[in-house]
Symmetry: C2
């Protein structure tokens, strides 16, 4: 998966850019990407997606075939095309490092660059950051709900394309998921991969028992999917398989349908009665953080939760309500006043204080405060602060997360 091409831009960004150059409007602009409001019942966000956003900025190039296409459109002239040919992103970028807990109105990225450059990257910045942040935040809710039990991600097929799938696996891992079923995400990001078996394997075998035997023969500590026909029979078959192949041959069973509380208890009792209290129970099938919390709250004997759809395409939050808005131009604050969608001018910094966050003008550092936005790119070059390992990002995301009061300094509203 490469970064998007330079043509991953909305047409108006280019028509505006052409005019910016023609009118000499190339002064320094500050744009900030913020989430205006959290989805219902959400308390926080986990910042994610910065790495790919910086990749995009660092590698931004209009190639000859891009330029040829643009020249075929009625809007653009040769002079602009020639300018695009040598255009590079030369700006500076501040952002909370990936894995940081963030709140509405706190910039997810702050781009400081000549106006045409900052404008042209609008679509890419929103697109590359909003979705990973959405997934990491939703996944964190599932991890929180599981209260220490492992959660794994099986959502690739439900994501909006393969790029979304792989970025979702990464974002869920950042938020504390233990593993993914996606082999490509495993390869690209070094995320542990996991998997069980599908109903098709059972269906293609002469019997469920045969299918289980094949898996137990071939794979150590295997996981058997027990609900292809009748879950009770499936559990009984799994127990027989485990007995035949010896202790440790069956590591877990998976239940993918039905009343998971009831089914997991019935399975647990059967397994324990058979002396297999070390065989774990994995459940899947439309799980989200609410369902997980219910199962945990009901003391369901479930060892691992597998989530798909709810993480990669959250039904309660198909998108984040985000905006990439200019807040300063040539050193002066600007803000739109569109009814219901006003923006807050001034280049900002966010300060994480003991019991609340404070958003101020960039230079108004309160005493003893640490800035949330880090300087991650300088003159188009990535800085060390923008180069965290996934392991470190994951640790950061595991830090205190929950509701927080965010105070907006009154000087921002003038």
């Amino acid at each position: 998966m490469n970064t998007p091409s330079a043509l991953f831009v909305d047409l108006y960004e280019l028509t505006m850019a052409q005019l910016y150059y023609e009118c000499g409007m190339t002064g320094e602009a500050v744009f900030e990407l913020t989430v205006r409001e959290l989805p219902d019942n959400w308390d926080y966000l986990i910042a994610a997606g910065l790495e790919r956003a910086l990749d995009f900025l660092e590698s931004l190039r209009f190639e000859e075939d891009d330029l040829e296409y643009l020249l075929s459109l009625p809007q653009f002239d040769q002079r602009f095309i020639d300018r695009l040919r040598t255009l590079r992103f030369t700006g500076d970028v501040w952002a909370p490092p990936e894995g940081t807990v963030v709140y509405p109105d706190e910039p997810l990225i702050q781009v400081v660059a000549p106006l045409p450059e900052a404008q042209i990257v609008e679509t890419a910045m929103i697109n590359q950051i909003a979705y990973p942040t959405l997934v990491a935040s939703k996944a964190a809710r599932a991890v929180d709900a599981a209260a220490g039990k492992p959660v794994i991600e099986f959502g690739g097929r439900r994501a909006h394309g393969s790029e979304a799938a792989i970025e979702a696996s990464r974002a869920a891992y950042i938020a504390g998921f233990e593993a993914t079923s996606s082999v490509e995400a495993g390869r690209r990001y070094g995320i542990p991969t996991t998997g069980t078996m599908a109903h098709s394997f059972v269906l293609a075998s002469d019997s469920e028992a045969d299918a289980f035997d094949a898996f137990a023969t071939r794979y150590p500590a295997t996981t058997l999917l027990v609900d292809t026909y009748e879950t009770a029979d499936g559990v009984a078959n799994a127990i027989r398989t485990a007995k035949r192949h010896g202790h440790g041959s069956v590591g877990a069973i998976r239940i993918d349908s039905g009343d998971l509380l009831k089914e997991s208890w019935q399975a647990r009792i059967k397994l324990d009665t058979a002396g297999m209290s070390d065989v774990r129970i994995i459940v899947s099938g439309g799980l989200d953080e609410q369902r997980i919390a219910e199962l945990v709250g009901s003391n369901a004997p479930i060892d691992i939760f597998a989530c798909g759809t709810s993480i990669v395409a959250p039904p309660d939050a198909a998108t984040l309500d985000s905006a990439y808005k200019m807040v300063e131009y040539q050193g002066s604050a600007v803000a739109k006043r569109s009814p219901g969608k006003p923006s807050i001018g001034h280049r900002k910094q966010v300060w994480r204080l003991a019991d609340h966050d404070l958003i101020t003008r960039v230079d108004d550092r309160p005493p003893d405060a640490e800035p949330v936005l880090q300087h991650v790119m300088s003159s188009g070059q990535r800085r060390p602060a923008g180069l965290d390992s996934l392991a470190r990002i994951r640790v950061r995301a595991a830090g205190p997360r929950g509701p927080r009061h965010v105070e907006i300094d009154p000087s921002l509203l003038t």
Copy 2:
């Protein structure tokens, strides 16, 4: 955007495949991708995504670096890796051509291939087809609601990554959208591109009037965004700009916030009073098919609707409830019986009859019926039926669409 790599697969598909080869389970399998249930209030789906699904099948190759990664995992041995090295998709595929109106239980794709091949492509088939079908179907609802007025797509930034954005533009165009703001979608798929201006252009200019002047000077029949400050003032500025630059200089105004019914009427009256009845009104801002229907029903003087979020990441349908299930193995019907998620065995065909659809076993052709599923790939090679132009797909999608009774032949349930 390339097709996904061969590693775009869930781990269990590969562990199952290794066992299929070891156990000699390489007989012909039939898998079908179907949607189990429509989102609330939806009447139909528009099939989309087939082209990329067939691209994936046709180009499926495990490259050396894919194989090296797989060999690093504990599950796979050299014999399987060597087999994957030469694996090609050799199966046959049937599907409704893109743009076909389809209903639940009707296969969106039917893969007939040796079991390991049909299994390995599971994730890719669901992932590549479900999202475009979701978007085309949602977009069709917006087009239906607009009752003949043009609808355009501005959603790239809201999509789940850049691949999703570009495929969403294509799917919306299939469903009858007139244009997209995405330059990459324009280049790749030949979709007309369109755009207006952003609030940032107005904010970076000395005044709104200056911003409008710049656009009207540079771009013929330009569109002016009038709601950066006060919409009423913006409309007045647009009128002054149009007068200064002459008839036709301003093609349209765009309103992106506020009460769109009220604002559009106030703008229309001002424009008409100024003798500018040919200046069109474009609205945007959280529009979905319901809001469009309300505006159309209220006789709002709106000429063009621009949709983003609601199309590329539908809040009422984050995903389609789809499944890729084995329905036959070696000529025998199979079906899982998982509670609440049973599948229907037998390889199927869908027949479009005068007043309803009929799903039968593949060879049970009713008299005078045309099959919906076409033979689009033969022994891994695309057939002409799988190679429609986007223009033709779009015409197909414009055909009769609405609710339809779907009858499942009783022979399928035995």
